[in-house]
Amino acid sequence: MHNSQAVVAEQFDDRVQQHEAASLGMWIFLATEIMFFGGLFTGYTVYRNLYTTAFETGSHLLNARIGALNTAILIASSLTMALAVHSAQTGKRAKLIFFIISTMCLGAAFLLIKFFFEWTHDYAEGFVPGLHFTYAGPHASHVALFMCFYFIMTGVHALHMVAGEGVLTVLLIMAWRGRFNQERYNAIEMMGLYWHFVDIVWIFLFPLLYLLGARF
């Protein structure tokens, strides 16, 4: 009989096995994500090597201050996520809900700043290859290539954040309904791993995209 309220799913023998399986599963999933982003980083590395000057030019076109703000927001969201995990582990429902909401808000702030501030600005300035690219300086096509990678890499990253927000919503509802306690917090912990990973990807993206050309 399938009992969705059961602490241990029926394919597992005990809680420990279930927890270890979930952890290993999430780490493997993160490994696949590393490979996925790895392909993008490989392409980026090849072109940055070929067109160093153009990539620096492109990087200078971006707003590093906004990027730094977003980086701070994301790191803060990792903090709140870690606190959410801790709250779940110690069975503190109110704190868990608070920290999930905080994480979601910080994540949403990141996305809002990116989409409604940065990207709209980039579009207005004519930095978007394929849609509106009017940069006419030297090596415009190589600068366009930089911008391609900028939008694709931050876009794929943003997609992962949106997915994360979706899962956080589900977890929020479950937390609201009291489904987590000291015995049962796997899902929060796994989500913590995922969120930290998405944060770490951004920590690589930020310098590689915004800080080229040693301008600070």
């Binding site: 023998d13 399986a21 490994a31 994500e33 490979m35 392909g39 392409g43 067109y51 096509s141 366009a144």
Partner: protein, 542 residues
């Protein structure tokens, strides 16, 4: 449990516990999911097979018998895409891996059963998109999607095809993830790593490749779609892009992918050779480690597809050396299987015929890989029919024969019925003969210089093409016959009983078909696999 008892069909098993459509489409039982995959890949194999039939018919005449080059180009593209991504890659892992892995481990199911079902739906979504591509007019990029052809110069349904493969890739990734966690965390008491059947080692190695490799082809195809939609220049040389970068990204997955296609088959062969010679495997550790070695080294050889792409000579020399290295563990396996037959007690049921055929044909396929890994020689045979012959020997002579052998071997377990072995042996022999007649002439065609992907060809290649097509008709017949008698056996086949082959392995200790939870009680394992020398004694079950 004595296998001399009269075989009776168990009362409640995973098949008859619920007949509703909903119980099938929403199942989380790994055994039912295996059937869902089997139905799907049989369908896709048929579609890919029809494409191949039309191709070989067209090649009966140097000027093309049936279709215009435009259409022929679509046929070989669809044949490749469907056979690689929607038949070979899932075949043994998604069907036999799903069905058997938990049972071989003594588990009730895989680690994430719902994820398992999701994998199938993802697979079907990707497959539907590719079918849409076929119906909507086809794609003609080749299964390799090389740029800038695929991004800038074709107006067929490139994005739909790439999208379909992209989506199906996630099915592989999740299946691989599921298997690795299951193998690590859900082995029965006493089942240490070196007591695992070699089929499990093969699944493990293949799953590592799924996990590490598939995301890279996902991003490669994603970039092609982005370039097509937004007209940006990631691979467009006139905008600073490098078309050869695509080749690197593509082959970084697609070479390990070929090991995904052969390693599970090798795992099946280890099970069949031992069962039908009643012997322990010779060199268990060597075979197990060879599987892992092939998976690991397989990630380092992708450049051997690119020796004459404009890649540097030095890179070519490095990739060639590593390609030689990856051949060694495969050779070690072939020798160990052959040695397993020594002083065995060998019978010739259909699964064994497929297994023996595999060893022979895989040996030829593997040896001809060396021709391609040898740089100076590859410069002559690259992109010719020699390559086609090589990989069909491995994929069809190897992987498909392993798949068919496995299907026949585990059919009684999956269905509770025996199939008529006489017909099965005839079909196996027809497949073997038809296969060689189809593909051996292609080695000659390749060395003569006939390029691949040619809809029309010069007349001096005519005779060999006719022989190849004749062989293909025989091969096709060999594939149709099992469909008939296997379907027949579902209704009219004799009841199989729990262990009709008197084989070792936890899957044979439970009823045929198994109950939904596989085992009445969790088994405890106390010895290595394939202990046929001790089979007279009961296998200890707690």
């Amino acid at each position: 449990m004595s296998s001399q008892e009269i075989a009776i069909e168990p009362k409640l098993n995973y098949l008859n516990c619920d007949y509703s459509i909903k119980s099938w489409l929403l199942t989380t039982d790994h055994k039912r999911i295996a059937w869902l995959y089997m139905m799907a890949i049989t369908f896709f194999f048929t579609v890919g097979g029809i494409a191949a039939t039309l191709m070989r018919l067209n090649l009966l005449e140097p000027q093309g018998l049936l279709v215009e080059p435009e259409t022929y180009n679509k046929l070989f593209s669809i044949h490749g895409i469907i056979m690689v991504f929607f038949f070979l890659v899932p075949s043994i892992p998604a069907v036999m891996g799903n069905f058997l892995l938990p049972m071989m481990l003594g588990a009730r199911d895989v680690a994430f059963p719902k994820l398992n079902l999701l994998s199938w739906y993802i697979f079907m979504t990707g497959g539907s998109l590719v079918l849409y591509t076929v119906i909507a007019g086809g794609v003609d990029t080749g299964w390799t999607f090389y740029t800038p052809l695929s991004t800038l110069y074709l107006n067929t349904h490139v994005m739909a095809a790439a999208g379909g493969v992209f989506i199906a890739g996630f099915s592989s990734i999740l299946t691989g993830l599921n298997f690795v966690v299951t193998i690590h965390k859900m082995r029965a008491p006493g089942l240490t790593w070196f007591r695992l059947p070699l089929f499990v080692w093969a699944m493990y190695a293949a799953s590592i490749i799924f996990i590490i490799g598939t995301p890279v082809i996902a991003i490669s195809l994603f970039l092609i779609v982005v370039e097509r939609i937004f007209h940006v220049g990631i691979f467009d040389p006139s905008l600073g892009g490098d078309p050869i970068l695509f080749q690197h990204l593509f082959w970084f997955y697609s070479h390990p992918a070929v090991y995904v296609m052969i390693l599970p088959s090798m795992g099946v062969i280890s099970e069949l050779i031992t069962a039908f010679s009643r012997k322990r495997i010779f060199g268990y550790h060597f075979v197990a480690f060879s599987s892992v070695a092939i998976a690991a080294i397989g990630f380092l050889v992708w450049g051997h597809h690119m020796f004459i792409s404009g890649q540097s000579v030095y890179a070519g020399l490095v990739f060639s050396a590593l390609s030689m290295a990856v051949a060694i563990p495969s050779a070690v396996k072939v020798f160990n299987w052959t040695a397993t037959l020594y002083k065995g007690s060998i019978s010739y049921e259909a699964p064994m015929l497929y297994a023996l055929g595999f060893i022979g044909l895989f040996t030829i396929g593997g040896l001809t890989g060396l021709y391609l890994a040898t740089t100076g020689l590859d410069q002559h045979v690259h992109d010719t029919y020699f390559v086609i012959a090589h990989f069909h020997y491995i994929m069809v002579g190897g992987a498909v024969m392993g798949y068919l052998g496995g299907i026949h071997y585990w059919w009684p377990k999956m269905t509770g019925r025996l199939y008529p072995d006489g017909w099965a042996r005839v079909a196996a022999i027809i497949v073997f003969v038809g296969f060689n007649l189809t593909f051996f002439p292609q080695f000659i065609l390749g060395y003569l210089g006939m390029p691949r992907r040619y809809a029309v060809y010069p007349p001096e290649f005519h005779t060999l093409n006719v022989i190849s097509t004749a062989g293909a008709s025989i091969l096709g017949l060999g594939y149709v016959i099992p469909l008939i008698y296997l379907a027949w056996s579902l209704r009219y086949g004799p009841i199989a009983g729990p262990n009709p082959w008197k084989a070792t392995g936890l899957e044979w200790t439970t009823s045929s078909p198994p109950p939904t939870h596989n085992f009445e009680e969790t088994p405890i394992v106390t010895e290595e696999p394939y202990r046929y020398d001790r089979l007279a004694e009961e296998i200890h079950v707690a």
